[in-house]
Symmetry: C2
């Protein structure tokens, strides 16, 4: 979506102690396929602080009734994760003199994650423009969240219209060693629901 | 100052690609001497993005007329550094259920650094309370900056009154291999001015 808007894209991924690196390999491949100018993977150790199923030994919840669908903050929430990610993006954005930072947060299905909400993003943008040389010198940047208000079905439809190779994408929190999705975690179930509602077969499962 | 206010302190330092590790050894020693419950040093690679004399091969400015005294943003400014530091502190604070994050920024002498200003800190606090579980659940944390409005002389005086062992502290951007301060960089000159105005001899130079 950023490419369609004419941006030259510098893609950023994080090795932050997540359980698997399948998503990092996929991010690198997708950045290349979709024409990013550059892709960097930064290693940070959020595992040092603990507190989440995604970075500790707490089990990933499977099946119906997981916390994220009940409105509470789910156990898979990583403390301050998006704040840490956006802060590294802000450092690179400042060096690049970038006009915008795009982040794929989605408020609708994941309303339990505090750092995916529009109010949070607005507050981050305001802080960012007080934090940086560009902001101080009158060239503010924006935090862009083109997916924030879309349903998963709408995201699938927009992606298909733009030619996104969904066969290369990874959503699963807990894939098998070959990278095949578990089919049972929150992320798998929301992805399956999105494809079903969009009336499209998921090429990842083909 | 946090200990005096009754806080149990968890101290956090960063190995972020700075030119020397003398300040990290000093931070560890000071945390122990001053009674921190725990001290952690997190390794992050801000060097990957470049853009500052503190983390790249650009020379550290020495002597009179350095940028930080002329009101402009100095070359020693590291892109989004305090934002990255505070974001890691926020992650740990959330795991600890901490009530406050203390940061020693000082707006007066270093007015050239955008991420040392009160407006920035206020915006960060607002963002932090929208980002986190605690903020969402009605237990907001505060970002405390007890040094922000003090002159260097006032900081020295407050520290001496509290028994801070200044002989163990490091300010220099560019010490010699033994850790002895260069005496010529911005940080050395501002420290010397602070001790002189406070009428106190710097025990680090003894």
């Amino acid at each position: 979506m950023a490419r369609q808007q004419g941006y030259a894209c510098y893609a950023l991924s994080f090795r932050y102690g997540q359980r698997h690196s399948v998503e990092l390999a996929a991010a690198e491949q997708l950045a290349r396929v979709l024409g990013a100018v550059e892709h960097r993977t930064i290693t940070i150790d959020l595992r040092a602080f603990g507190g989440s199923a995604l970075t500790s030994d707490i089990a990933v919840p499977k099946g119906e009734g997981s916390a994220s669908e009940a409105g509470a903050i789910p156990i898979t929430y990583v403390p301050a994760r998006n704040t840490v990610f956006l802060s590294f993006a802000l450092a690179w954005a400042e060096v690049l003199a970038a006009q915008a930072i795009f982040i794929g947060v989605n408020a609708l299905d994941y309303s339990g994650y505090p750092d995916c909400r529009p109010d949070y993003i607005a507050a981050y943008q305001q802080m960012a423009n007080l934090a940086t040389r560009a902001g101080v010198e009158g060239q503010p940047l924006t935090i862009e969240t083109p997916l924030i208000d879309l349903t998963k079905a709408q995201i699938i439809q927009r992606g298909v219209a733009l030619g996104v190779p969904y066969a290369l994408t990874v959503s699963c929190y807990d894939p098998d060693p070959t990278g095949y999705p578990c089919g049972a975690c929150d992320a798998c179930r929301l992805r399956a629901k999105g494809f079903a509602e969009a009336g499209i077969a998921d090429p990842r499962l083909g």
